[in-house]
Amino acid sequence: MIKVKNVSKTFKVYKKDSGFKGAVKGLFKREKDYIEAVKDISFEIKKGEIIGYIGANGAGKSTTIKMMTGVLTPSSGIIEVNGLIPHDNRIENAKHIGVVFGQRTQLWWDLPLEETFSILKEIYNVEDEAFKERYDYLIELLEIEPFIKQPVRTLSLGQRMRADLAASMLHSPEILYLDEPTIGLDVMVKERIRKAIKELNEKFKVTVILTTHDMSDIQEMASRIMIIEKGEIIYDGSKEMINKKFGNNRRLDLKIEDLNEEHMKMMQDFLREQDQSAYVCIEDNALSVTFNQDVLSVSVIISFAMANFKVFDFSLKDQNIEDIVKKLYTGGVS
């Protein structure tokens, strides 16, 4: 359905020296520099897949998405979406895709939300009946009814994101591109959105391509993961494989009163019985436990800690992309 073959994108950038002198110099002589944002990537995506496309900032995620949606032209290589080349047939391609940007909205700022929907109906030329059905379904799924008459600029980030998601699905697109859809949202809202996306994928078989650097997004939604680093795809495989290889790790940081080595030893002894791959250290004035959540549940660790230590605060972090990427480089991919 989506075919990306040997695609590269190189940007010409004018190098400027920093500071004031540099700016003046920049008027007369500008050094050209070439940045290879994307280097010879290839992959295929089948209908109905949910792909998690992850990478650090600047790794090439947005560039790839922009090329797939037709907003950016590749420097070389071929992209085919349902038989069409996106940047050559941008308007035709646009009829079948939905796009949600986490950082910018596609809704009309000053208009009440429901008016945005009626405008989009016209723009995408959706038939009345089909529209009504979709509309009712999306409103209910994303619980938009309470604020549907409010101007978009008065909505909270979470509300706006749900609205953007609904707007992107109104015209029954075959492919949905989500660029950092959960960024800045609190945990509960993230959950709702993830659930909604999964349901949309199941019900309508819409292919979802999701960029993020939140691992939990991936864990919850994606079945397949592609990791891009410095313009190259360094991993393309199932979520299970990643978890098997690197473990579904999380990190629990415990703030304990009078933290000392004793606590660390006690935790280590306790963990040895539960999860051999887990390790404990003291970092930043906290007792840090990295463990595999497929083997050991966080509540077990917390219960143990609270029963035995004076815990006054804790935080739970996901394994982050940087760690995985580092591991991929050192451990090799297979």
């Binding site: 907003v71 950016l72 723009i123 995408y124």
Partner: protein, 263 residues
């Protein structure tokens, strides 16, 4: 036809919000009155010193000025969003939105915004035109009224083309608002008889930034002192040429450039 329906939807929305922001609209219109007034005061002050400007009298110059504001206002009414293209859409990345929708991005951009403040310009333009028409003792035939409409429409197209070209520059440079400002300042002075300018400036105002064809040249025909034969026809030709150049060449290559560099 679909485009017409889409435009209608945008318009409907706009009118709804307009009711909410009535005061803003009135203040905006008032401020355009002020702009018009200041231009008129300039003209009046000039003519309080001299009886004519290269053979053109006060009322003739008023006629030209009034005529020039009508297409300016009509263009302003419909294509105001181009200013935002010049000033912020490219820089902020919002421009991508227009490329991701299944309709012509320029149409989308223009249809999205309607600026009724511009009625101030149109009203003043018509008023002055009518006043000068009376003072000059003119009396148009039906054909001439028809030609007037054609000339005004050509003028609108010229304004839109110039604005489009100026705004499209932002597709390369990220921002071109200041430049567009200056070009518009130029149009404030372009209601004067072209004969007072040097050949170079005359050429610029006729062929490069053709504000001359918006008012002075067609007005010269209607006053009875046409500067070119087939005046109105030339106006139409210039308008079409500029629109074609602005849309097919500048806008489209701007899009291509944008698509290869992103933002």
């Amino acid at each position: 036809m679909r485009h017409f329906r889409i435009y209608k939807v945008f318009m409907k929305q706009y009118l709804k919000t307009l009711m909410e922001y009535r005061t803003d609209f009135l203040i905006g219109m008032l401020s355009f009155f002020v702009l018009q007034a200041s231009n008129l005061i300039f003209i009046s002050l000039i003519f309080s010193r001299i009886p004519h400007l290269n053979g053109w009298t006060y009322h003739e110059v008023l006629f030209i000025y009034g005529l020039s504001q009508i297409p300016r206002g009509i263009d302003h009414l419909f294509t105001d969003n181009l200013w935002l293209l010049a000033g912020s859409y490219v820089k902020s990345g919002q421009f991508d939105k227009y490329l991701l929708r299944p309709i012509n991005p320029l149409f989308h951009l223009i249809a999205e915004r309607f600026q009724p403040d511009a009625f101030g310009e149109i009203i003043i333009g018509v008023s002055i035109f009518v006043y000068a028409y009376g003072q000059l003792g003119l009396s148009f035939t039906v054909i001439q009224w028809g030609l007037l409409v054609v000339a005004i429409l050509a003028g609108v197209l010229i304004y839109t083309s110039i604005k489009l070209i100026g705004a499209s520059i932002a597709l390369w440079t990220k921002k071109s608002q200041q430049f567009l400002f200056i070009v518009y300042q130029l149009s404030d002075f372009s209601s004067y008889p072209l004969s007072i300018f040097s050949t170079f400036i005359k050429a610029i105002l006729t062929f490069v930034i053709p504000f001359g064809f918006v008012a002075f040249i067609p007005a010269s025909y209607f006053i009875g002192k046409p500067v070119y034969p087939l005046t109105i026809l030339w106006g139409v030709i210039v308008a079409l040429v500029f629109w074609t150049f602005g849309y097919q060449v500048v806008w489209k290559s701007g899009l291509k450039a944008y698509e290869s560099t992103g933002n």
